[in-house]
């Protein structure tokens, strides 16, 4: 099954935010909005929930901290203990700096890895959507035409109110 998409192009960051709000208020399903930079307030206009990546960051950080602390105690006190200057074998305070570094390393790499995975960004991937100038100076609003009741005229007029410069329709294979 394929579905129709209604696509409106805008030229101004304020217009896209207002248009998105209006379209959403009309009850349309917003497929996505494509912008050349992060437009503030657009996530709220689209009704997106805040990202859960901070949680991923926390989990990876804790994982890194635990693993590294355990590794240092294990190597220094259990696997091959060496008496260095009469210091205790499991000298926790001296293990803090490396534990901190590995915490940051795990948290950083884990967060970025999760981000790439969840956004399906990977080398060699073709852009899922390609809209002219969407990475340059156009803001593109994509609406799913859910049923026959979709009023093309009405939606076009709505977008025109927000200075939309171009509208088009495309067919998309249903995912």
């Amino acid at each position: 099954m394929s579905r129709r998409l209604f696509i409106a192009h805008f030229e101004d960051e304020r217009d896209i935010v207002e248009a998105t709000k209006a379209v959403r208020a009309e009850g349309h399903e917003i497929r996505d909005v494509y912008t050349p930079f992060a437009v503030h307030g657009l996530d709220k206009a689209m009704g997106l929930k805040p990202s859960r990546l901070p949680l991923v960051c926390l989990i990876f950080g804790l994982l890194g901290a635990t693993a590294k602390l355990w590794f240092q105690v294990w190597t220094s006190a259990f696997n091959w203990p060496v008496n260095i200057g009469g210091k205790p074998l499991a000298s926790i305070p001296a293990f803090v700096p490396v534990t901190f570094e590995i915490t940051v390393l795990f948290a950083g790499l884990g967060t970025v890895g999760a981000f790439l995975l969840i956004s399906r960004l990977r080398p060699g991937r073709k852009p899922a959507a390609s809209y002219e100038r969407a990475t340059n100076d156009r803001f593109v609003l994509v609406i799913v035409e859910r049923d026959a009741a979709f009023d093309l005229e009405r939606t076009t007029a709505l977008c025109r109110r927000f200075h939309c410069v171009r509208v088009e329709e495309r067919l998309e294979e249903e995912p």
Binding site: D12, D43, P50, P97, L105, G108, F115, A129, A134, N136
Partner: protein, 480 residues
Amino acid sequence: MADGLSVLRTPLILGKKSYSDVTEEVAAPLDRTPGKEWWMAFAVSTSMLFLGIAAVTYQMLTGIGTWGLNNTVGWAFDITNFVFWIGIGHAGTLISAILFLFRQKWRTSVNRSAEAMTIFAVICAGMFPIIHMGRPWLAFWVIPYPNLRGPLWVNFRSPLVWDMFAIGTYFTISLVFWYVGLIPDLATLRDRTFSKAKKKLYGLFSLGWDGSNRTWLRYESVYLLLAGLATPLVVSVHTIVSWDFATSVIPGWHTTIFPPYFVAGAVFSGFAMVLTLMIIARKVLRFEEYITLHHIESMAKIIIATGGMVGLAYLTELFVSFYSGNEYERFALVNRMFGPYAWAYWIMVSCNVLSPQLLWFKKARTNVAFVFILSLAINVGMWFERFVIITISLTRDYLPASWDFYAPTLVEIATLTGSFGLFFTLFLLFSRFLPMIAIGEVKAVLSYGRARSVGPHASDVERARSITTDVREKVHGGAV
């Protein structure tokens, strides 16, 4: 509170630019064939790099006797260069992470190249401990890996091991931070280029970015998290570097003031290097409307602040050396100031403490040529600071019978020259192949200080409305 309500702030980007102007102007140097200036700079820096490679090859084949070190002074040139380069890198992280957390919007014009500078400086820094090992092919011994000698693990109580982890993490996180920031811009370049090869390359590295706002939302979240992680990281890195010295018992090294002192010095020297590079880049690549006098002035102000901290640290060291009543501490400081290397100490003081004071004057801060010369002076001064701390403290320790002298050999000087060659070569290549200014981020601040009238449809009515909204936001912000 009257000025708290002022709506119009100084625009960050000069000239009336549309979004596509930003794309075109930032990408322009990537399309042009490099000019004569670029080739000349490239020729000089690669020659320096090859000199360095020759010097390193020679010292590896001959042995560490080619250095000026002796029994008393076991750490000198290599370690000075290491600390110097690591410090340079810190300004990049400060701009990309700390200024981001402080919502300093002017950072958007300089963060990309400052982050690149960080990465290249850390590469230069990382080479020196490896060269200093004398047998660099055994450098992997600092990594804890399963081996057949026990397994004998590294000593996790040693600051040198901490250092390896700190530098490794710092390099990795800086690289990832920089790359994540580059992804949207690489997509912009992919979509505008007509060259097939470039399209393929930019396409590969932009990971299929399409500007979806769902992705932007996550991207912003990742950016904030990385900034939050990089901020304590950058403080920890130079703290750990300073512990290499502070945990020893050498007078002049064994002080608790070192971590904050080193971090402030690192930011200080790093900003000097950012200014050196940016002042050249804005001129050569015609980025004067992006990297404006306002940017240079802001960085000059950070130099005053951090230079003040460095000056305070010098005074504190001096005070404590006398106040402690410890005769070795006192001697170490007097020896620095009036001993055989007194000239190095006074170069350090005049470049790092005295010369930045001129930046209190707005006339000086906004004079680009003057700031450029001053940034060079600070770079020199901060190199000497590390030399003063590391080498002079070692030459005369507790036992006068073991006192000795240190002078660098030509091989060591060639190695330092080589590291500068590597740094500038990498930076010049960066300026040819990647956008030096964060295109996406600059677009987002284009309307800053312009009552949001950048878009093509900002009618007067709308402009008036946006101004009232602005005021409301401000008042609200003030109440909070």
